[in-house]
């Protein structure tokens, strides 16, 4: 069963600026991926409730005990830019 993708909406949500050619190609590819995933639905019987989890587990918790964090240099190692001890990013107009 082919799945229709609103590629403009998806691109917008992902903040991607796609060319017309890319949109066509990705629409087809994403559709195939969703079709593939939809096979799970065909295999599951009515007695299997939908789940986001592969194994039936619950209440996996950890005690409230501190463990060492990364060093600041490690934390900032992947920062696109930094100023002193903080990550530096482009200005943000939107307040979420």
């Amino acid at each position: 069963m082919p799945v229709e993708i609103d590629i403009d909406h998806v691109a917008k949500l992902a903040r991607l600026d796609l060319t017309a050619e890319e949109k066509e190609r990705l629409r087809a590819q994403l559709g195939l991926i969703l079709e593939y995933a939809a096979k799970v639905g065909e295999a599951a019987g009515a007695d299997v409730p939908p789940s986001a989890y592969a194994i039936p587990r619950a209440n996996v918790l950890r005690p409230d005990e501190p463990v060492p964090s990364l060093s600041r240099e490690e934390v900032l190692a992947n920062a696109p830019e930094r100023e002193a001890d903080r990550f530096k990013v482009p200005p943000i107009a939107e307040v979420g």
Partner: protein, 485 residues
């Protein structure tokens, strides 16, 4: 606001939990640490890292839910809330969506002796975001040149308490907020410090013609940094909306920002259309299925909540409802009262000092009780000295003022300022004789039957004693002397 309109308010309050570690990793949860020192692969969202919920945080939210009379769902899920904003390094925030831990509760609040029940829609668990500082010449968000981010706060356990739109006035909104804060305080689950951001609040407000079954156009107000701001912003917005409805101006559903300086709200300009957070179940976090036994154990261990404590103050200490509302307004004030009582002071006297002179000093200094230098010991000592007639009530007020300024012990202030009352008649007699000799006119008037003339003489004796004489003793001595000789 006119009688022909009704205001509808709902509040969304965010509470940072005072756990030792973050929600999904073992980084420390502490305020004021150097930037980016409490950060690890999990809260940084590095590939391959696996979040695991903090057991204590789950216990705390269940405590909150039970205190608010919520139902604790037996099956609850974490969801990813996807958005692009650099305050979360992974481009999503772990939150809850259609299956929050706690639902359908309520909180009763009192305003002017009337009880208002505010429904609680839900209480859910999520993680806090990093702290963004907008940098640039003007310091304003809109004109910022860049932003700097500290991820220490990213991943700190955050509980959101969402009320039903049951609130009908800014005053009830304030009372609800205060009651929620003191409840959280009593539960010992958060520092509830608005100035440090551990308690934050957004408000939804609309107005509609009185009796209308439909809601008006809703506005969300952000940037409410104090209880005072909350009430001011709601009052302003209520008037703005009523004025718009009266003139037929169209209101738009939007988010508005409260400006402390001007006391007004203004539109947050947003280029975005409606948000699409694409919530989906967090695949890394299995469901929560709190069992009945555990929930009941937490319920059994709940502390005395503010409403019960106020009721006890009325019942056992004989305080008036008016006083218990003030004294029981926060954990700090209620604890203060009980500590002073433990030090031997009578409840009624402590409540009087707290709700009158002390409260006046706090208001004038614009601070809260815990920030002041006055302790329960001060109040207990003050009351004892007045009861023993060591100092007069007037002197006690001065002593309290100085204790408020300096925090010095009461006895020390009394000694250095020489406020100890002189009740020893031999010491007073000399002043009384002097006052009579120096003021023949009032003496004559008094003897002629004008009783009020004695007040002038009392004043003269008090002056000579620099306020240290006991007024009643002075009066008695004067009367005895004037009628005797």
């Amino acid at each position: 606001m006119g009688e022909d309109f009704e205001t509808v308010i709902g509040l969304e309050c965010h509470v940072e939990l005072s756990t030792r570690t973050k929600m999904f990793c073992g980084c420390r949860n502490e305020f004021g640490a150097p930037p980016n020192t409490n950060v690890c692969p999990v809260c940084l969202g590095l590939p391959g890292s696996l979040p695991v919920p903090n057991e204590r945080a789950i216990e705390y939210i269940v405590r909150i839910g039970l205190a608010l009379d919520c139902e604790i769902l037996r099956y609850s899920l974490f969801h990813r809330k996807n958005y692009f904003y650099p305050d979360m390094p992974k481009n999503f925030q772990i939150s809850q969506y259609d299956l929050p831990i706690c639902v359908k509760g309520h909180l009763d609040v009192q305003v002017d002796g009337q009880t208002h029940r505010v429904g609680i829609t839900r209480v859910h668990m999520e993680e806090d975001t990093g702290k963004t500082t907008h940098a640039g010449a003007s310091g304003r968000i809109a004109q910022a040149e860049y932003a700097l981010i500290d991820y220490n706060r990213a991943g700190v356990p955050l509980v959101e308490v969402v009320s039903e739109p049951d609130i009908r006035s800014p005053e009830v909104a304030r009372a609800y907020f205060n009651e929620l804060r003191s409840t959280l305080e009593a539960l010992d689950v958060s520092d509830v410090r608005m100035e440090e951001g551990s308690l934050r609040c957004d408000a939804n407000i609309s107005v509609r013609p009185a009796g209308s079954p439909e809601y008006g156009t809703k506005v969300e107000i952000k940037n409410l940094n104090s209880v005072r701001s909350l009430e001011r912003a709601l009052k302003y917005e209520q008037e703005r909306q009523v004025a718009a409805l009266r003139t037929g101006e169209k209101l738009v559903q939007e988010t508005r920002h409260f400006d402390e300086g001007t006391g007004t709200t203004h539109t947050l300009r947003s280029k975005e259309e409606a948000f699409d957070y694409r919530y989906f179940p967090e695949p890394d976090l299995p469901p929560l299925e709190p069992d009945t036994e555990w929930v009941e154990k937490i319920r059994g261990a709940l502390p005395e909540l503010p409403a019960a404590r106020r009721a006890r103050f009325e019942r056992e200490l004989g305080l008036a409802p008016r006083q218990t509302t003030l004294v029981g307004a926060s954990k700090a004030t209620a604890d203060f009262l009980e500590e002073a009582i433990d030090l031997g002071a009578p409840a009624a006297a402590v409540a009087n000092w707290m709700t009158q002179d002390l409260s006046g000093l706090l208001n004038k200094a614009r601070i809260e009780l815990p920030e002041s230098k006055v302790t329960p010991q001060h109040i207990a000592d003050l009351i004892r000295l007045v009861e023993e007639s060591t100092i007069s009530v007037t002197a006690a007020k001065q002593v309290l003022e100085e204790a408020f300024e300096t925090g010095k012990p009461i006895e020390e202030i009394v000694e250095t300022r020489g406020l100890r009352q002189v009740t020893d008649t031999s010491a007073l007699e000399a002043w009384v004789v002097e006052a009579i000799a120096e003021n023949p006119e009032p003496v004559e008037q008094f003897r002629a039957g004008k009783d009020g003339a004695i007040n002038f003489l009392v004043g003269q004796v008090m002056k000579k004693s620099r306020g240290a004489a006991n007024v009643r003793t002075v009066q008695e001595l004067l009367r005895a002397k004037l009628s005797g000789s």
